[in-house]
Subunit: 632 residues, 2 copies
Amino acid sequence: MALGPVDTTRSPYARWKTIPLESFTLGEGFWAHKQDVNHRVSLHHGFEQLEKFGNFNNLLLAAGKGEGSYRTPVFMDSDVYKWLEAVAYQLAQGPDSSLSEKADYAIRLIQEAQAPDGYLNSYWQVVEPERRWADLQHGHELYCAGHLFQAAVAYHRATGDDRLLNVSRRFADYIDSVFGPGKRAGTPGHPEIEMALVELYRETGERRYLDLACYFVDQRGRGLLGGHRLGSPAYYQDHVPVREATTVEGHAVRQLYLTAGVTDIYLETGEQALFDALLRQWHDMVSRKLFITGGVGSQHAGEAFGEPYELPNERCYCETCAQIASIMWNWRMLLATGEARYADLMERTLYNGFLSGVSLDGRRYFYVNPLLSHGQEPWMGRKHIVRPEWHGCACCPPNVMRMLSAIGHYFASADESGVQIHQYAAGTLNLPTLRLRLETEYPWQGAVHLTVEEAAGHEQSLSLRIPGWCTAPSLQVNGADAPASRADGYWTVTRVWQAGDQLHLSLPMAPTLVAGHPRVDATRGSVAIQRGPLVYCLEQADHDPAVDLHDVAIEPDAPLQASWRGDLLEGVMVVQTQGKLLDPKPWGDALYRPLAESQTPVRSPVALTAVPYYAWANRGPGVMRVWIPRAG
Amino acid sequence: MALGPVDTTRSPYARWKTIPLESFTLGEGFWAHKQDVNHRVSLHHGFEQLEKFGNFNNLLLAAGKGEGSYRTPVFMDSDVYKWLEAVAYQLAQGPDSSLSEKADYAIRLIQEAQAPDGYLNSYWQVVEPERRWADLQHGHELYCAGHLFQAAVAYHRATGDDRLLNVSRRFADYIDSVFGPGKRAGTPGHPEIEMALVELYRETGERRYLDLACYFVDQRGRGLLGGHRLGSPAYYQDHVPVREATTVEGHAVRQLYLTAGVTDIYLETGEQALFDALLRQWHDMVSRKLFITGGVGSQHAGEAFGEPYELPNERCYCETCAQIASIMWNWRMLLATGEARYADLMERTLYNGFLSGVSLDGRRYFYVNPLLSHGQEPWMGRKHIVRPEWHGCACCPPNVMRMLSAIGHYFASADESGVQIHQYAAGTLNLPTLRLRLETEYPWQGAVHLTVEEAAGHEQSLSLRIPGWCTAPSLQVNGADAPASRADGYWTVTRVWQAGDQLHLSLPMAPTLVAGHPRVDATRGSVAIQRGPLVYCLEQADHDPAVDLHDVAIEPDAPLQASWRGDLLEGVMVVQTQGKLLDPKPWGDALYRPLAESQTPVRSPVALTAVPYYAWANRGPGVMRVWIPRAG
């Protein structure tokens, strides 16, 4: 039985323990389909891209075998590692000789590239061999090492194959011989290695790896990164010691990989000062710096968190990797606390700001995920409209792959008293003491039917998350209202379960108009459509070409009608309502007019059709908008 | 008599001709005070900063005399040239031996730094002497040359001293020997030299300089700039040939220096295809990409124009230099066309987005000019709140200086039939055929009283701009309603003027609430306060600390009361009105709530006091906002 990305089974400060990947078998449904596309298409396509963009050749060059010149950016190795990690989770769920062979090829490259002393980074080995560790700020050596360790742990868990794990241990031991108290001082310019070292500790039992993670965390905010080429110490989360942080700042992926790693450390050490800082930062993020899609990162400059309430629609960043990092962090916070608010945010992010990062066909990826798009603008070199097949900085595609191939990992957990279900998907949860069948059409329908197929003969609790968006949830056990306790956002039923026991969770999904905080400029006077966990958007493809979506307003009192469209976007529930098409012609050339003359006339009523945000930009260019001005 | 920055006296396609700097003598009033601070404080302070930051030493190094190492950025010379240009305009208005001596020091440095073959750029001479012209994209050699030529022309016009002009001619001749048809192909990565070469042509009569300007313009959009390190060809306006441009794109200062230079070329050549492109670009800017302050540049990444209607409040760029470039361009468009819309935009920009770039005391400068500021955020390395004394990239401070020391240049023009007054300020306009005294408290009061002090004995027309913001202008001539013709935004009175003739222009300045175009996210549901040419803002300093300006809303129907506060911010008209202080507490940690539950309760009514935007950030940190949500 192979554990997934995180193993909290022996973490002393984890309230809940992660379960093996195979324990949650997805049945036919939303996520099974996404994972299947990821398996059949994306993983193979990713291998081709790594070949084409030279990532493999870089490793060959490091092994003294490749031809041609090194292909940057400096963190090219990490794309290989993330792809391998994704393959590992897929292999944990069943054999696939084609994938295994490809992985084997990559693993051998990595083995051969490793330097005799354990160091491993193709860029620094090939291009600047004299300058190891000379540029902690942007060298990405520790970042790439982290991704290697995560891949190695995943591959070992999935297959028992310890080749990458041995490479990782040698490299980690080498890093540990360089950095630490009494040795070289330093901290990575791009966090990632922190959570990787903790996981390597969990997998190997080698305490030095945990200590090294703690060391890197402790060194932040001490000016060790030097001159900060990209603007400010906060870009690198080097502006303040980790325990004193009150806000999320700077480059969003860096910030959230760091908080995820710090949470991992807390799960092992229980240090309250770390956890207090995490709570402050989480609060800052969700109450001031979060898009409705779960996206984070308000500024293109620095790919960064912005100021409080700075949440622009067209120019948000919302890097796909930042959403993945947010999911990783929130998963660890959930495991630490058992509070549903973290699973709520994971759900919001998974179904919206994360999933928008990949096309329906699994071959194209967004780097940034805006909430308003004007259509094609090739002269700006912008990649909003058509997801490219791969990116020059290709961090996102294999990151999407490793999230999707391990998706079930994030859906349930267990502890001594029983089982917790966090995300709803059709499938079977198979634990030593309990086997449950889940039937649901989530996220399209809010009914979740659970059947106990097998149970140990002792009392066990079953906890079901009540999504924060749901206003009228109900739970029945064997046809009767459940004697369930409700705490921290979960309904928990405790009993000696019998095969055949039935639970029915009802999470009514009425389409809802949502408003933004009054301090947010970008959402003022506007609403978004949400249904269940899904945020909706308007896309030009669903509207008459004469209806310019820039000029529509929504009738806030009109009914919202959800209906299934099996033919559309691989099957989606659309939401239809009424709006008005405004006529901005009286504005002429003016951007600003006296309020008294600023009334914009209505040209006609207009029927509006909204589709799930995650599915946008699969039908060619056109206007897309999540936030819709209110008519009147 | 010294002409100012632009000389259209012999430009065949200029409808209006520029007049000598001394022809418009500012009397006591708004702009005279600004110019006086610039003269007494900023120019001297600027000299000290150039000394301190090593700009002068760089030139010494180029002359083989300096000590220490070169100080970047590569365009450090241009700061010296802009400062010299500013000094020149000041000297044109009266002697100042202290300034003359400082200028003399700088001029001698420049003379000595020039290479024997005429080349002059301290960075490339000192640091990379083998690589002249190797990096047109970012080398800034042609950019710095342009600023040298402008300074040289200014200094020659102001003082008759031709030392810099000779340096410039030698350099221009050298450049002309390198670039051009049959020679090296190329175009500058940062436009600037285009308008400078046209001005050098105007000053020297040397046609080759105009031809070289045309050549550089013609080479754009042909891929000559290569790989575009900063994102896209549009950043450098190299994405499309100049005559095919339909929009303003990319780095805002680059774009607007280019359009200004192209307009100069049009003024000399009358080429309609150039002018058509300029009109399209102007239309794009004013109807889609202009902030209410006249500021331009919506994106920090690339200091760039954004997408249509992308006009964020806190994260706009609005670089001070971009506003200066906009004023320069609009002045040339005004001279070409005689249409008041260009002078209107100049006014909007001068009084708001330009003037906010310098502190009241003339010692501190903003690089970016946001419309919403949250207060201090030192961890972001942001310089919004306290204007720094100087900048590492110090393009803005001496640019402000040259605009202020030549400010009167932009206020009036003349042609064979008479005189045009574009901006209103107290002073005396003294032309060979007409001497006028202007009395006004503009921009605080809209009354402008003009007295003819001397006039030639023939018919002359006097044209007065009717500002676009004014809804009820009136004009009396010698106490009677004027028999004036109104065209293109000007009232023109034509007669044989007599000494003692009186004109009274009344431009009522009621404070007004202004709304933004319905497509603009950042202004939706909000209003701004404007009075006359001034855009207002709320600043924390004028409100009780318990009133968080993030949470106020304005009563759109409450009266707006203007009153003079001589004690405040060197004397300003404040505008007071009523609002509500909202209580966002029910939102708790939520950024998004169902519309039905999103009502934000009112905590109390609140009196709001608005001050002119240009004067913000002179009283320490605190929230500032231009756009205010509407209550109810």
